[in-house]
Symmetry: C2
Subunit: 561 residues, 2 copies
């Protein structure tokens, strides 16, 4: 689980990661999914050695020019590197990787180390017709790094890994300068060594790059306290095929449309974010994470709405519905919860179908923490919540990055694991959740399955909803498994858009959500995005097939509508 | 001073506004500016009846089509309306209005009442070659509503005044829906009647429209508590010549570049903001405003940096430098400060050259207010500040919108009054201020004058700097007066950009700051802005000569570089 070790080629974590499911969780899975024997890996992954890649289509002369431009020793067509850059980490990505089915591979992978190299790479790409897929941590769960060629004959992944500098922590002006390819965890650790934090903790924390967080508008688990990643960016540099754009780290500015907000969320379709100036905060000296059990999800929503609409809430706020609560408890908070707490939960005073809340405070001042936690506790108690303590809170905190590891184990035994998220106003939240749950169950859980939801990233005006689906995989082949996944996905996206909810609150659009972008932003919005793209990327080489729907204004675009 | 009465044609406030300068302020002005007799209006304004407008160049048939499209009874070429839409409220605007010199007049003024009417007006404008200047409150101080024709043969002002609906205050989701042309003060009062506030109090509060606040990225005097106006916008609708763009009021979203942030600050160059969904907050029940005197501006900056970088600060934070402090005290806090406080100040314990700070809290919870104010007081005392009390604080609060009224009186006696603002990091703030003061004094105060500065809109990473120049007007004619103003302005803008500070923190770009936009956003940034404009406004009719510098990518643009 080190940020500085490479990701597995076919899953999450480092090769020596070992994950054991708890007995109660295994029992619950068997019951919910109707999978009798969870000890048999019914759908094992291929070994890497079993995967033969098609040869690169790029001519030797171009490969050699790219190598020279990159200015590094990395072999641009090494099979392992091409495999590592063939997909992100969605369910569909993992199924296709593990079974080597339906994957596209980049014709080359290069990792320039300087802005000059990147510019030279863009020049070659434009001249030779090579689509450029910017690649950070490779953790996208929405097809954001799918090596699509668009209208170009070739495609390459351009890895930002060498842009990993972390420097200039300015204590007076409270910011730090970080290369776009720096791993988030490395940047955070570096800041901590200097007494500060960035405060961004998404589930991909260990592997994601800061440039990736910016390009996708990531949100982290302490977003109540530190905000979303797009809130954390004071300045940035984006290198586009049409030139370099610098947004200085002004305290704030009134000089037209916010071009920084055009690069944030641009998902590699405009250029590559080479450098960022991020806000930092003094490392909190006092941390507290608590578990609370509410009588129902609805009661929990009412409580958190109150908390978010009054001053002094918390740094972490997360409320699971009854289904997710049961799964989490069975999982033993990802394996590290003491049996005692689990038994206590099962026997709790009538709260058998309760909703688990995690609230956390990260403060420099102990009085501030105590005051805030007293306020939150008082609101939760008003809503009939029971405090189940810091043990569960700390267990959550320790295991907060653990879900993707568990997913790999579940894939082995034929479980489809899908997560997706959206947002809704407080008044629309309950109905949206119910609609989505019904669709997810109908489409995915016919043969057994569980769909849970939690609310996190809360605001005074609403919150994001995060859904986790565990369903019995149908179909022997990877193609069939992907088809099963896609069927439900389409229905759910339609439902979200019909009900005025966004296609994503913090995962992004990528290739997977592209068909719904024009619904979200409208015809004039699509034209505006296409115009922005045409300005920054006049030859349409940047990350084709992601984010920006085709438009008649951008006839060069290869994208289907 | 009612938001619902019209603005004077040649100044600020309603026709019956009467402003009296205090004796100490008059004495100070005489001394600083070398103007002996302030009772003689050496540079009086013309009367409205003395102004003869050139006839509209628009053919009768087009005027009649516009009238029909507007669907209202307003006379589209009435001289008073054309005069009222000829300029904003900068010093140069007022001099030109008062002396009827160098003004351009719109060929027509129309005020559609529905989105359909606006679309029809855009269609006529494109067909007939009429530049469209969106016009809200007309309070721009950067030439944002200058009726420039660009490459079009005609120009008209399109007033949003009929888009004044205020509705749907949603207490659960904490937002309100407001027409783009609604006056900010009307919207705030309406919300207050329902127990809520928007919380935006710029100096233009009484006359500005909410659409104007959004289009210019306005910031208000309680920005520490409620944020800038761009932070307050959850959703909006922008009607462009290419179509309608709706950004739904999602809690938040990760679906590409933030198109809402493209419309915010667009200054009428993309389209007209017809509707906004704004965040609201429960009306604070406890208000407190305090005056504090710091031994120096430098000490005050250190104190406020500390306050902004620790939890629990204030809703209002404002620190005047020594020069502005003296002017404010002499002015008697705009005429309403009791003599006692003034005398006290003059005799204060060695703080003769002190720096005045105003801090304010607007809270629903008294304990919260007390806690925050105790923290701020403790930091201020650590920096040797003396509390001069709520009397001065309340005086500031009562007179917070008063400066533009005073300006009219000063113009009568030949005083050039210029205000401009920028932003800097905490570490760069002192040097930037000193550089700007030196340039302002050298360029404007050779014959007498005063340049003061205050810091407001503070952030953990820096603050905005706001400068007020009072100088003796040179030149008898309006052209000469404008030339005097422009000379200093150019030098100051060059200095800001050279030192990495933005051309504006909250006034915007307009026509006045346009020459520095390409320095701020760079060549690729200009191209991106031009591409956005071309997408929304393919015939280049929208507010020409403002915000968006010309670019080879947008050959239709008439703008000089």
């Amino acid at each position: 689980m080190s940020a500085l070790r490479p990701l597995l080629w076919n899953g999450w974590g480092a090769p020596d990661t070992h994950v054991e499911l708890t007995a109660p969780f295994r029992a619950w899975l068997s019951e919910e999914l109707g999978i009798d024997d969870l000890s048999v890996p019914s759908h094992p992954s291929l070994r890497e050695a079993e995967i033969t890649l098609p040869p690169s289509r790029l001519p030797e002369s171009v490969l050699s020019a790219l190598s020279k431009a990159a200015g590094t020793e990395d072999a641009v067509t090494a099979p392992h590197r091409r495999l590592m850059h063939a997909a992100g980490r969605s369910y569909a990505d993992l199924v296709r990787l593990r079974e080597n089915a339906g994957l596209a591979f980049p014709d080359a992978v290069i990792a320039p180390a300087t802005e000059e190299s990147f510019s030279e790479v863009f020049r070659i790409a434009q001249d030779e017709g090579i689509a450029v897929v910017p690649f950070g941590g490779g953790t996208s769960v929405v097809g954001g790094v799918e090596p699509l060629r668009g209208s170009q004959p070739y495609v390459m992944a351009v890895d930002t890994g060498h842009l990993d500098s972390i420097s200039n922590l300015d204590e007076t002006d409270r910011h730090v300068t970080v290369g776009g390819g720096a791993r988030l965890m490395a940047a955070e650790n570096w800041c901590r060594d200097h007494g500060y934090v960035i405060g961004h903790y998404p589930q991909s924390y260990e592997y994601v790059t800061v440039g990736g967080c910016a390009a996708t508008r990531s949100a982290g688990q302490s977003s109540e306290g530190y905000g979303r990643f797009d809130d954390m960016v004071l300045g940035l540099t984006c290198l586009t095929p049409a030139g370099r754009m610098d947004m200085l780290p002004h305290p704030d500015i009134a000089a037209g449309p916010d071009l920084r907000e055009c690069v944030l969320g641009s998902e590699g379709s405009l250029g590559i974010i080479t450098s960022l100036t991020l806000k930092v905060h003094p490392a909190p000296r006092h941390l507290r994470y608590e578990g609370w059990l509410l009588p129902s999800f609805a009661e929990g929503v009412a409580a958190f709405q109150h908390i978010l609409q009054t001053p002094g809430s918390c740094t972490v706020a997360r409320l699971s519905d009854e289904e997710e609560t049961e799964g989490l408890m069975r999982m033993g908070m990802h394996g590290s919860l003491a049996d005692k707490a689990f038994s206590w939960y099962l026997g709790a005073r009538g709260y058998r179908d309760g909703a688990l809340a995690i609230v956390g405070w990260e403060e420099s001042d102990r009085d501030e923490l105590n005051r805030k936690s007293a306020h939150v506790a008082s609101v939760l108690r008003d809503h009939h919540a029971i405090r189940i303590g810091e043990r569960i809170g700390n267990s959550w905190e320790r295991s907060r990055y653990f879900s993707p590891y568990v997913r790999d184990v579940l894939l082995d035994v034929g479980v489809m694991v899908e997560t997706f998220e959206t947002a809704a106003s407080w008044s629309g939240l309950a109905a949206l959740r119910e609609g989505v749950l019904a669709i997810a169950r109908e489409n995915w859980c016919g043969n057994g399955g569980s769909v849970g939801c939690h609310v996190s990233h809360m605001y005074p005006w609403g919150a994001s909803l995060y859904f986790t689906v565990l369903a019995r995989r149908t179909g022997a082949t990877a193609e069939e498994a992907v088809e099963q996944w896609k069927r439900g996905k389409v229905e759910i996206m339609e439902h979200l858009l019909e009900n005025g909810s966004p296609p994503s609150h913090h995962h992004g659009i990528g290739a997977d959500h592209l068909p719904w972008m024009s619904r979200e932003v409208g015809t004039a919005g699509v034209a505006l995005l296409a115009a922005m793209k045409a300005s920054c990327d006049p030859h349409s080489i940047m990350n084709p097939g992601k984010l920006v729907p085709a438009s008649e204004r951008n006839p060069g675009s290869p994208l289907p509508q």
